[in-house]
Amino acid sequence: MDRRAVYKTAWIGGLLLAPQLLLVFTFFYWPTGAALFWAFTLERPWGGGNEFAGLDNFRMVFSDTAYWGAVWRSMVFALGSTALAMGLALLFALFCDRQLRGYKAYQTMLIWPYAVAAPAAGVAFRFLFAPEAGVFAALNKIHPDFWNPSVNGFHAMILIVVAYSWKYLAYNFIFFLAALQSIPRALIEASAMDGSGPLRRMWDIQLPLLAPTMFFLLVINITDSFVDSFGIIDLTTHGGPSKATTLMVYKIYFDGFKGLDYSGAAAQSIVLMLLVMALTFVQFRFIERRVHYR
């Protein structure tokens, strides 16, 4: 049966589509086009047009050690935040599945962090982890510079990893919990009848059956950590101290808007875009034919 509704005149359909097309064009194709344009051209410092630069901008980017530093820090951040956000989310979901089967209110509360905008979360964590207030002030009194993200780059990295993971913890939790609850109860019971205790059941039954969800979340978390970390960094560390938290995405912003190197920033953003596209491709490739146990 053909369920499509067909408009008699084509222009009505076009008219209805227009706002959406306009949005997509304004916020996606136009910036992307502009970035592509800048990435392959060189802007004259005092205005007066662009000249074609070929791959020079990319060569510049790749030969810059500062860029590779940002790449390395992005990897550290991606692995750190993904491990933290997924690990804790899995742990919480396992507890929740065992103790609070069907307890919807609790699940709803745990999704909230995901709905909190990055600036709000960033400000909250800036206060929570401020070295001159709260718990850390007390610890710093005992041991000076026990915690000082504004000076210590390692501390700063921990700060952005924790602040960022807080949000994705919620996201991952919901997926893990849903996946756990979709495991037929009879499987857990059969395993209990076969003599296994709760930990053994987790290891032998629940975790293997979570594998597709884990893979899905792994890709999502890593991909998002490359782009979604901007808000947190901008609100907490500004990429510092001494570039210790300047990730790829932050470096684009910094070089482009602070350093006014549009061409370099544009080249970097093309690289980042390709990276995200590659990861998304991997995800679709494997999620589509993810392990089906039927």
Partner: protein, 363 residues
């Protein structure tokens, strides 16, 4: 092998009580089938034996040990689930051998025992497959194998055949009973299918609404149903039941038909339910206890034939051999032998025994 003692066991989910004080003794090596309509609490009772459901009140003892506080793994029971509950990510061999793995047996030892069990179930060629690649009957066998391999004290079955097609169901039913004859393990089998219950059981426990209605051999529950409920539930087609009244010594009246019955000590005017099995009436015979039926539909079942119709306005079914001659529909007279009349107290639903005449309590 072990006996199971269920003493005044109750189960409540919150305020909702679903098992009301069940007492049942299952002998060592016995095959007991718990039979009842859907939602009567069969599975709940079975799961309390298994340890998958907490016992709200009362006690369950397996081989003399009270198991109320024990984990499932400490009780020595193995269970076959309705949907088989095979581990989808494990091969058949790993599914069957999982219990042994948990128990810490070495790999070669496990392999040897899995192969023995698989062979006895005809699964030898499928050991490396995943459950998703098996047919319904094969999955059923894997579930059996998984239960057998640990040589449990007790087998528990929760409607294990209800997902199979009719032919396979009959076949697996026979295999399960043969297996029991071979192993002699105490078995508790839950089903809503009376044919399954009758063919498998040493004793049938008929449950209704969280109560036990009757415990007895298949023959006992068929011959002497302890209550109106059992009478209506056992037998296919079910017993014809009418509301009636005692009109004199050894005489009841129902639907305008007067029947003499062998029951003694009935009180005149007592309200009773009269039950007559479709296969126990004699078509065409003329004597005492005769009535007539208006047959409006004839159902051929191969070896037998069912005549559906009305007796004095009430629905009535008669079963006759398929060889019986006669037109399809019409007016027939039939005889109800006095010994074929079952009486139940209209108020309590309990059976009134023919000889004693008193109201027999449910077993």
């Amino acid at each position: 092998m072990a006996d199971i003692d269920i003493r005044s066991v109750r189960k409540a989910y919150g305020k909702n009580q679903v098992v009301h004080g069940v007492d049942l003794s299952i002998r060592s090596g016995e095959f007991v089938v718990i039979l009842g309509p859907s939602g009567c609490g069969k599975s709940t009772l079975l799961r309390m034996i298994a340890g998958l459901e907490a016992i709200t009140e009362g006690e369950i003892a397996i081989a003399g040990d009270v198991v109320n506080a024990m984990e499932p793994r400490e009780r020595g029971c193995a269970m076959v689930f309705q949907n088989y509950a095979l581990y989808p990510h494990m091969t058949v061999a790993d599914n069957i051998g999982y219990g042994l793995k948990v128990a810490g047996l070495s790999k070669p030892e496990r392999r040897a025992r899995v192969e023995t069990v698989a062979k006895s179930l005809g699964l030898s060629d499928y050991l490396d497959r995943k459950p998703g690649q098996l047919s319904g009957g094969q999955r059923q066998r894997v579930a059996m194998g998984r239960a057998m391999i640990r040589e449990p004290k007790v087998f528990l079955f929760d409607e294990p055949l209800s997902n199979l097609d009719a032919k396979l169901r009959v076949q697996m039913r026979i295999e399960i009973r043969k297996l029991h004859n071979r192993l002699g393990t105490t078995s508790v089998f839950v089903t809503h299918d009376q044919v399954e219950a009758m063919t498998l059981a040493d004793r049938v426990v008929v449950m209704n609404g969280g109560h036990i209605e009757q415990v007895g051999t298949p023959e006992e529950i068929y011959r002497n149903p302890a209550s109106r409920f059992v009478a209506g539930f056992i037998g296919s087609p079910p017993m014809n039941l009418f509301e009636g009244r005692v009109t004199g010594p050894g005489e009841v009246e129902a639907q305008g038909i007067v029947l003499s019955v062998p029951h003694a000590g009935l009180a005149r005017g007592q309200a009773v339910t009269v039950g007559i099995r479709p296969e126990e009436v004699l078509l065409g015979a003329a004597g005492s206890n005769t009535a007539s039926i208006d047959v409006d539909f004839r159902e051929e079942l191969g070896s037998v034939r069912l005549l559906h119709g009305q007796v004095a306005g009430a629905d009535f079914v008669i079963q006759v051999p398929a060889t019986t001659a006669g037109p399809k529909v019409g007016h027939f007279s039939f005889e109800v032998p006095a010994r074929a009349v079952h009486l139940f107290d209209a108020e309590t639903g309990m059976r009134i025994d023919p000889v004693a005449g008193g109201i027999r309590a449910a077993a």
